[in-house]
């Protein structure tokens, strides 16, 4: 028997993370603030994807390379993670992502008819983006606003129950910018920045983790001993 060839280590080594080149200085500064909140940098991967979408409106390949460098993984791992999640768009989307929920509570409230109207009104099917890049229409799963059915979100901001008529007014308002203060462009998720760093000494958390690891090792040793 020959030793199994190590696969992951050389592949990892082949990717040398570089300083961010695509994300702006402000976004990178905020990214470092977020990374500092977690015991392991990779935990900031998804929050950083949201930040990248704030800059570009979607998650570009260039941003994924920067994020990989920032959290210490490969760009492939960033893409592999991001592609799992509905809110992370690895293809361009419109300035306004309009999500119409058609799940059970909204279905009972006429969501299928609303989605059909939205498709005709915007001239794109669910999943499509208007040719001017202003709107992407999505058929959404439950958005947890079921007492205002059928529920619609624009860029993850609730706009209340919609009828076909009110939907067209909503679209007109979005086009004219009348709701810009309330509904930022797609990608901007959290406009409130954390005002404090961590206050507990990181060494205290490290001590807790070490104590937990030692306790686990002791339990496992005791379990092994008991089985022998």
């Amino acid at each position: 028997m020959t030793e199994p060839t190590p696969v992951s280590a050389p592949r990892r080594a082949a990717f040398a993370p570089a300083a961010p080149t695509h994300l702006s200085a402000d976004i990178v500064a905020r990214a470092h603030e977020l990374i500092a909140l977690y015991p392991e940098p990779r935990s900031a991967l998804i929050p950083l994807c949201h930040l990248a979408q704030e800059q570009d409106g979607w998650l570009t390949p260039e941003a994924m390379v920067d994020i990989a460098g920032l959290v210490g993984v490969t760009p492939g791992e960033v893409f592999g993670t991001a592609s799992f999640y509905d809110m992370l768009h690895t293809e361009p989307v419109g300035t306004h992502v309009v999500a119409v929920c058609t799940n059970i509570a909204c279905l009972l409230g006429g969501a299928a008819e609303l989605l059909e109207h939205a498709e005709q009104s915007l001239g794109v099917g669910a999943g499509g983006t208007t040719s001017d890049g202003a709107f992407t229409l999505e058929e959404a799963e439950c958005l947890a606003d079921c007492d205002r059915a059928p529920c619609v979100q624009v860029n993850h901001r609730y706009v209340g129950a919609q009828t076909p008529e009110s939907f067209d007014r909503l679209i007109a308002d979005l086009r004219s910018g009348a709701r810009a203060a309330e509904i930022p462009p797609h990608g901007t998720l959290i406009r409130v920045r954390r005002t404090t760093g961590l206050e507990v000494d990181p060494a205290a958390v490290a001590d807790e983790r070490r104590a937990a690891a030692e306790a686990r090792a002791a339990r496992e040793a005791a379990a092994d001993g008991g089985g022998a």
């Binding site: 909140l37 977690y38 015991p39 392991e40 990779r42 935990s43 900031a44 991967l45 998804i46 929050p47 994807c49 949201h50 959290v71 993984v73 592999g80 993670t81 991001a82 799992f84 999640y85 509905d86 809110m87 992370l88 799940n103 059970i104 509570a105 279905l107 009972l108 799963e141 439950c142 958005l143 947890a144 606003d145 079921c146 007492d147 059915a149 979100q153 860029n155 993850h156 901001r157 609730y158 998720l189 959290i190 409130v192 920045r193 954390r194 005002t195 404090t196 961590l198 206050e199 507990v200 205290a204 958390v205 807790e208 983790r209 104590a211 937990a212 690891a213 306790a215 686990r216 339990r219």
Partner: protein
């Protein structure tokens, strides 16, 4: 039964427009529960929660005190709050994070003190943009107020609380998937055992995962005592609970009700609650606890809103969401949409769930469109049986997590209760409801 008037434990501030601000929170008894907790030992705080017999409000209904007590044997490293509310027709945590974020923060710090952890992550679903902003604002204010951070209220206890946004995946409500996501990975549920993150959780360290509503109950319990909480409700279902009522009712919304004392009939029909079914229509069926739960017909409407009572009747109270379908609802279409949801949200790790959900969805779709065959009903049940052998309740499991065995609920309910309706679709080549 009667609708009781219990104290408002988690919804007391919702009458105020500024319920989310620190000013309103402090003016209405805010952070008094935390001060009471910090004056006692962590063990005494945990014992108070034990005395309340608070069942977790996330869906599984596991006693919060027992979850914590598993940790007393091991040093706990992290508390993680599950705010990934995505079970269809569930919208109670949405209300709590947007309208009373300080109550959540206070509950979290109380729990952190009882568990003696110094790092908390509040995982909120990414679609809660306003909720994320409100909780972050509340945290910023709470740090400045001395209620979070170093040496809280001069007690010597310190904890950091971090808000973490999800990115849109139902499966992240499953606690091990949530932890994977919090580690910056795909939301793949972890293989069990270990069954509880208390043994191996975030980064492999001992972790407690609790729901937003569970945490929001803690300030009241610390101020009023666990015994006062346990005096409400009945049996194992103590206290009040938020019920999210949606679908065909005149007045959908979130209602805080005393558990067991109130019935589904009260919730759906009482003028001060659901207000009945509009347009003079009758009740066809209702889903008692999220779309993973088997449906009930009108004959079950007198059941009390209690965890064990609903379980004994063959379904679950689950996430506390009740969906009402009137007698003009197409059962095939309703079950098809729920199946489509599971098919979209299956994480793809386990074959029965990944493949089965897609097959079921396509068969349901063709029946609804009038292209079904009579043998499709047996085919549906056979596919359900491959995901959850016996298609019974509580379900058998062939998959890593409970998403898989949740899929058959709506299909088997619809076929059992409304078989004729399926046959009309098949024989007449279309949906009788248009």
């Amino acid at each position: 039964m009667a609708i009781t008037q219990p104290p408002k434990i988690v919804t007391s501030r919702l009458g105020y427009d500024d319920s989310h601000t620190l000013e309103r929170y402090l003016a209405t008894g805010g952070y008094e529960g935390l001060r009471a907790a910090l004056a006692r030992t962590p063990e005494a705080v945990a014992a108070e929660v034990d005395a309340a017999s608070l069942l977790g409000r996330g869906g599984a209904g596991f006693p919060a005190g027992r979850k914590w007590s598993m940790l007393r044997k091991n040093p706990v490293t992290y508390l993680v709050v599950n705010g990934d509310e995505s079970e269809p027709a569930t919208f109670k945590d949405h209300l709590l994070v947007e309208r009373d974020p300080h109550q959540l923060v206070e509950g979290v710090v109380i729990a952190a003190y009882a568990l003696q952890v110094s790092r908390v992550f509040i995982f909120l679903r990414g679609e809660f943009a306003l909720g994320l902003e409100r909780v972050q604002s509340a945290l910023n204010d709470a740090y400045a107020h001395g209620a979070v951070g170093r040496d809280i209220f001069g007690s010597g206890f310190s904890v950091d609380v971090v808000v973490h946004p999800g990115a849109g995946a139902y499966i992240c409500g499953e606690e091990t998937a949530l932890l994977e996501s919090l580690e910056g990975k795909r939301g793949f549920p972890r293989i069990k055992p270990p069954f509880f993150p208390a043994a191996i959780g975030l980064y492999g360290d001992p972790t407690v995962v609790n729901n937003v509503e569970t945490m929001s109950n803690l300030p009241w319990i610390m101020t009023n005592g666990g015994a006062a909480f346990a005096a409400l409700g009945g049996g194992r279902s103590t206290g009040t609970r938020l019920f999210a009522l949606a679908g065909h009712v005149a007045n959908p919304g979130v209602f805080e009700l005393e558990m067991v004392k109130t019935t589904f009939d009260d919730l759906i029909n009482a003028p001060v609650l659901g207000g009945g079914i509009p347009h003079g229509r009758g009740l066809k069926a209702f889903i008692p606890g999220g779309v993973s739960a088997p449906w009930f017909g009108p004959d079950r409407i007198d059941l009390p809103l209690g965890q064990d009572e609903v379980a004994e009747a063959g379904s679950m109270l689950g996430s506390g969401s009740v969906v009402v379908m009137d007698d003009h609802t197409c059962a095939v279409r309703a079950a098809w949409r729920i199946t489509k949801f599971f098919s979209r949200e299956s994480c793809g790790q386990c074959t029965p769930c990944r493949e089965g959900s897609g097959w079921l969805e396509r068969i349901m779709e063709r029946i609804e469109r009038g292209q079904g065959r009579e043998e499709d009903l047996d085919l549906l049940m056979d596919a359900c049986d491959n995901i959850s052998p016996g298609v019974a309740w509580p379900p058998q499991q062939t998959t890593i997590c409970v998403l898989g065995p949740s899929i058959p609920s709506s299909i088997s309910s619809a076929i059992t209760m409304f078989r004729d309706e399926f046959l009309v679709h098949i024989k007449e080549g279309g949906c009788p409801y248009g």
